[in-house]
């Protein structure tokens, strides 16, 4: 890989700060709500930060702009990471984040496109968001729009048959305006993906299904940026970015901790986690 330019270094530093900010908000949000999914939100934070603050062409003041790029959070339980990115982008006030999962909040436990500005489609039932993203890519191509569709899926989620049905269809249709990102943290609720129903080797599986596959470290912003750039020039095939990640990334006691898939931190744990995140560098 080429040595990063000064510009690229600045972009990376900027996005790292955004990712820290998103992680901070994720912890605070779930802690305040008293329930939610921290592990899979933290593993996706660098990818989501890079999407919202670099890759996506979007207009937070005009969420319905027809030529926008779309992001679909297919692993909908990671809603907090999406909400943090949307708030930071300006889709709604940051204070709204502290209403997560409350009865009168527009921030539902899982993303709701009819309640939250910036949410492209309602997800929460695993596997379906990915298919819907393929449908969006198809619709945008029919309309000859230049918009691109990005979608984040989980490795546990990839055990759903619908993921592979959609993968075959997207390749058949030669959809090159869609980029999938696999949040490959090797964890699901009941334990390690490799010990429950393994999806390994994910790279050759998606290749065999007709996708262009790029494997990266999903916590290295430079690699995430390069992968998205590389995906833009792939023609006639969809691209899957296999992002190797760590569940709970950046909070020591949440990293690779099965329990923190769907458990809120206590207020003492929130404080500890926020201190750890702040110690990593400035927030964006």
């Amino acid at each position: 890989m080429a040595t990063p330019t000064v510009d690229k270094q600045a972009t990376i530093a900027y996005l790292e700060a955004k990712a820290r900010s998103i992680r901070w908000d994720v912890i605070k949000m779930i802690g305040t709500a008293g329930s939610g999914h921290p592990g899979g939100s933290l593993s996706a934070a660098d990818i989501v930060a890079t999407l919202y603050f670099h890759e996506l062409d979007h207009r937070p003041d005009d969420p319905g702009w027809p030529d926008r790029d779309r992001f679909v959070l297919s692993k909908g339980h990671a809603a907090p990471v999406l909400y943090a990115a949307l708030a930071e982008s300006g889709y709604f006030p940051r204070e709204d984040l502290w209403t997560l999962r409350k009865i009168d909040s527009h921030l539902q436990g899982h993303p709701d496109m009819r309640k939250t500005p910036g949410v492209e489609i309602s997800t929460g039932s695993l596997g379906m968001g990915f298919s819907a993203a393929v449908g969006m890519a198809l619709g945008l191509r029919i309309d000859k729009r230049q918009s691109r569709v990005y979608t984040l899926i989980g490795d546990g989620e990839s055990q759903e048959g619908i993921i592979w049905e959609a993968s075959m269809f997207a390749a058949q249709q030669k959809l090159d305006n869609i980029v999938g990102v696999l949040d490959y943290n090797n964890m699901q609720i009941d334990g390690l993906v490799s010990e429950i129903v393994d999806i390994y080797p994910a790279t050759s599986k998606w290749s065999a299904f007709g996708w262009h596959v790029i494997e990266i470290d999903g916590h290295k912003i430079g690699e995430i940026l390069d992968a998205f750039r590389a995906a833009r020039v792939v023609k006639g095939r969809p691209t899957m970015i296999i992002a190797n990640t760590i569940k709970g990334k950046c909070v020591s006691f949440m990293e690779k901790a099965v329990d923190f898939h769907g458990k809120a931190p206590t207020s003492e744990e929130v404080d500890r986690a926020l201190v750890e995140i702040e110690a990593l560098g400035p927030l964006g």
Binding site: A33, G34, S35, G36, G76, R101, K102, I103, S105, L107, Q108, G109, H110, D112, S122, T123, G124, S125, L126, G127, G156, E157, Q159, E160, G161, Q188, I189, D190, V193, I196, V197
Partner: protein, 311 residues
């Protein structure tokens, strides 16, 4: 304060006892072993527990295959995904051939709470009830759930048992006898009948207490088997009171309300009021807040009873 326990807790406890009794019993889970409590079975019988990963359709169709080899197969996951995602597997490869698969998913209903609409199934009773030959059971508390889960192992064929996430008041004890297909009269009354199922049984008993203080005599029937319906019990009570309220933590379309209305309109027409989720999707919130928001409290039942008496 009434003592509370979630009906899902009965799943793991009953499976442990069943596992010891039935060497052919196999449990399939779809990445929710801790939430559904099937993990208890996994710990004692690791060789008869299989985690299918996040793949409910595959889990359900594999259960059908296992059943053909003589296994008694109990399946896991949440009610939304087991009965929704895997509906057609249940319909075509489990129920049509009448295979011995027990579908006992947890986290049914609005009381799932903060996870919100995508996880709050309010349609599962309807989906299961419409399948020919499917037995549909909605236990009212931990003990009824445990007894039902154990009892249906003796029945050859598909059974759906609806379990919940939130702790709910315990109404019975270990001496309770669950008889499939039998409704149980929990309170004798003469002015109005409440047919209740699941967590609404407790609210109906509370409503009956409140109404008794206002001089209204209420009969409360626990209808834990929604299919086959205990027609005799319902018609018997309706002929005595002449007015029926149905209360369930489910859409007012297709569940117990529909079942009772269908029965009475065919065989003994009387005024019926259905209490349930009024053809809406759920939303995030606390279980108690949501019950209030959607009109599923004992107060709502009392109001409905009074309106029905005024008619």
């Amino acid at each position: 304060m009434a003592y509370k326990r979630a009906t899902r807790e009965a799943y793991g406890d009953a499976l442990l006892e069943l596992g010891r009794e039935y060497p052919d019993l196999v449990v399939l889970e779809a990445d929710l072993a801790k939430s559904t409590t099937t993990i208890k079975f996994k710990e004692e019988f690791p060789d008869r527990f299989f985690d299918c990963g996040v793949a409910e359709q595959n889990m359900m169709a594999m259960a059908a295959g296992l059943a053909t080899t003589g296994k008694v197969c109990y399946t896991g996951s949440f009610a939304m995904f087991a009965t929704g995602r895997a509906f057609e597997q249940i319909r075509n490869i489990v129920s049509y051939p009448r295979l011995n698969v027990k579908i006992c998913p947890t986290h049914a209903g609005i009381t799932v709470g903060a996870d919100g609409a995508s996880h709050q199934t309010l349609e599962d009773i309807a989906l299961m009830r419409v399948i020919p030959g499917m037995m549909v059971i909605v236990p009212a508390d931990y003990y009824e759930a445990k007894k039902a889960i154990k009892k249906v192992a003796e029945i050859e064929g598909p059974v759906f048992i609806r379990l919940g996430k939130a702790p709910v008041p315990v109404l019975f004890d270990d001496t309770y006898e669950f008889v499939p297909g039998r409704a149980v009269n929990l309170r004798e009354g003469s002015n109005v009948t409440i047919c209740a199922t699941g967590i609404m049984v407790d609210s109906s008993l509370k409503a009956a207490d409140n109404l008794a203080q206002q001089g209204i005599s209420v009969e409360v029937i626990n209808i834990s088997t929604i299919k086959p319906l205990d027609e005799g019990a319902i018609i018997g009570s309706a002929s005595k009171t002449g007015r029926v309220i149905v209360a369930e933590e489910h859409s007012i379309i297709g569940g117990l309300g529909s079942a009772v209305a269908e029965l009475l309109s065919d065989k003994y027409p009387v005024p019926v009021t259905r209490i349930g989720i009024n053809d809406l999707f759920g939303r995030s919130g606390g279980p108690a807040e949501l019950l209030e928001y959607y009109g599923l409290t004992d107060e709502d039942i009392s109001q409905a009873a009074k309106s029905l008496l005024d008619k």
